[in-house]
């Protein structure tokens, strides 16, 4: 049976999380727990857990030293998992500043705002990876695509978006050098030819992270609530209202539980129908303003703007700055593109200009 491995040095917290997670996952997974203790050969213990169970996700606390394992931190577990291409999430409940909010590509940052949030996230991510694995198991042709982006596009029945997925352009080996070791191993003269199972595991690992940590985090072909509101230049309080018009754009792929995601090209198709009702004589300052106007006509009322923007007070919108988390528009004094800090495929993301001007000279944005 597939399993989730939870690691923490606090047995009480660990048991509470285990019980909640086991209830949530039910028959989908066994929830294993590990409390590292003084004198334990941690790497051996970890290896035993992995070798003896079908572990699809590991979740670890950042500080694992409380019961005498001095120097043993979640970062070590993350490294071990990355070497084995097992999805891994980490969190820090005790000192929330120990970990950056943003994970790297092959690491999952588990929210700790509440135990509900933690459990929901772990369950959603687990189910997402399991779903991807099942799809690859069932569709052998996915192993023969020319790139993870191509496989992901096919998996999501969105081949037309392959080029955009490819623009998330991760250099996978740079993000997880363990992958190089894995490939070097199978490529050595002494190694037997890699079986499909290993390829399936690696493709699951790479496409899963590409989807959850790049495509869904930096809105482009798929947008969550916040990005959708920015795209449509409306305040977030209007989301439930506008959502009723956008049913055809529902995203029902892996990790869908993490937010309410929509396919942007299908949102566009809906809007293009609605825009026929916009008067030929009306002019707008931005694409976002046009989109909102089309929605307003369809709904028969004015929609609230996102008030956070000090330049146009939410009038324009159209894009989301993934760092300030505010709606921005294409005006040169409002936002700018970045090919370094924002993946090129994230076409709904732009840097808020003030933030960019302040930090780009230092951070090479």
């Amino acid at each position: 049976m597939t399993a989730v491995l939870l690691i923490d040095d606090s047995p009480e917290l660990l048991e509470s999380l285990r019980a909640r997670l086991a209830a949530d996952l039910g028959a989908q997974a066994t929830v294993l727990t590990w409390v590292p203790v003084d004198g334990e050969q941690t790497e051996v213990t970890f290896k035993n857990y992995i070798d003896n169970n079908d572990v699809r996700l590991v979740v670890t606390d950042y500080d694992l030293t409380r019961r005498g394992q001095l120097g043993f931190f979640g970062a070590t577990v993350v490294d071990w998992c990355q070497m084995r291409a097992i999805p891994v999430g980490d969190f820090s409940r005790g000192n929330t500043t120990s970990l950056a909010d943003e994970p790297n590509l092959f690491e999952l940052r588990v929210p700790v705002d509440s135990e509900d949030a933690t459990v929901s996230y772990i369950s959603a991510v687990f189910r997402g990876f399991v779903e991807i694995r099942a799809t690859i198991d069932a569709r052998a042709e996915l192993l023969r695509q020319r790139s993870p982006a191509a496989a992901l596009a096919m998996m999501l029945d969105a081949k037309r978006l392959e080029s955009q997925f490819s623009q998330y352009g991760a250099r996978y080996a740079n993000a997880n050098p363990g992958l190089i070791d894995a490939l070097t191993e199978v490529a050595s003269d002494a190694a037997p030819p890699p079986g499909d199972l290993r390829k399936i595991e690696l493709l699951t690992y790479i496409t899963g992270h590409l989807l959850v940590n790049a495509v869904l985090r930096f809105p482009g072909p798929i947008a969550g609530k916040k990005a959708t509101c920015a795209y449509l230049a409306v305040g977030q309080e209007e989301y439930e209202t506008i959502r009723t018009l956008l049913q055809a754009a529902n995203y029902s792929g892996p990790f869908r539980e993490l937010d309410d995601y929509l396919w942007v090209h299908k949102v566009d198709e809906t809007l293009e129908g609605l825009e026929d009702h916009v008067s030929e004589n009306e002019v707008f300052q931005s694409q976002g303003t046009r989109r909102r106007r089309a929605l307003e006509i369809a709904l028969g009322r004015t929609l609230a703007r996102s008030p956070a923007c000090t330049r146009c007070h939410g009038e324009n919108g159209g894009f989301l700055c993934p760092f300030t988390r505010r709606a921005v528009c294409e005006r040169p004094d409002c936002s700018t593109v970045s090919n370094v800090w924002i993946p090129a495929g994230a076409r709904l993301c732009r840097f808020e200009k003030d933030f960019y001007d302040e930090w780009a000279p230092i951070l090479g944005m």
């Binding site: 080029s163 707008f284 076409r347």
Partner: protein, 248 residues
């Protein structure tokens, strides 16, 4: 910028097409063009002047850094191509969600960077003219654009002024060409500098995708009064009939 309905559609379609082209350029390992590759900056849609009139779009300067030949030693991208221009788009086609050219003007300036500094080695403008007597509908005229070398130097921090090797080039010859609008020029740059028979599958597939993308942008040949040009651009169709003086 105020966007009416057709202007908004034009901007949206051009930005989408350009974003898809950027994905191909990325697969072909082209460094990010400068000073910006932001579609919203690149395509400036002018307000439509007349009902059903064409939508005019200014294309801001953009500089591509390329190898002189695909087989150039790895990493040697010493050619800089400065492009800017204009497109006229058919308003009726835009209403149907299609990009169709009514007119275009494209100016290209090539600069080679080497030990001797930055040299302006080729310049031309491409446009179309179906109305003037004895003009090939699509044609190129060579021209020196040495002053644009400063855009190249500034964009890529080359710290040297450009020197022209084509000063005084004869610019009156109208060389019949195919339709070399902005997107065609980008396609041509890919063909000239980024692929040849030794290219691997990734490049070949990227190039094929670029060719497919070109189908999202219809040429202007459909509009010419001498019908064959719509489908065939052989020399027989480069020039309209010269009508007798009495009929002019």
């Amino acid at each position: 910028m105020a966007l009416g309905k057709v202007e908004a559609i034009a901007q949206r379609l051009l930005v989408r097409l350009w974003d898809d082209i950027k994905a191909v350029l990325s697969d072909l390992n082209v460094p990010t063009p400068r000073p910006t590759d932001d579609g919203y900056r690149l395509f400036e849609v002018r307000p439509v002047q007349a009902a059903d009139g064409p939508v005019e779009v200014d294309i801001a300067r953009i500089v591509f850094q390329l190898p002189e030949r695909f087989s150039a030693p790895t990493g040697r991208t010493n050619l800089y191509v400065h492009v800017r221009g204009r497109l006229g788009l058919d308003a009726n086609a835009l209403q149907e969600g299609r990009l169709r050219t009514t007119s275009f003007n494209t100016e290209v300036a090539y600069f080679r960077h080497g030990r001797a500094g930055l040299k302006h080695v080729f310049g031309a403008h491409y446009d179309s003219d179906a109305k003037s007597l004895a003009h090939p509908v699509f044609h190129a005229q060579m021209k020196c654009y040495n002053e644009r070398g400063s855009d190249v130097s500034d964009s890529f921090s080359l710290d040297c002024a450009s020197e022209s090797v084509i000063t005084g080039v004869f610019g009156t010859a109208r060389i019949p060409t195919a339709q070399l609008d902005f997107f065609s020029v980008v396609m041509q740059l890919c063909a000239d500098h980024l692929i040849d028979e030794n290219a691997d599958d990734t490049r070949r597939l990227a190039f094929n995708r670029m060719r497919e993308l070109r189908h999202r942008f219809q040429g202007a040949g459909y509009a010419w009064p001498f019908g064959q040009a719509a489908e065939c651009m052989r020399s027989a169709h480069w020039y309209d009939d010269a009508p007798p003086i009495a009929l002019v």
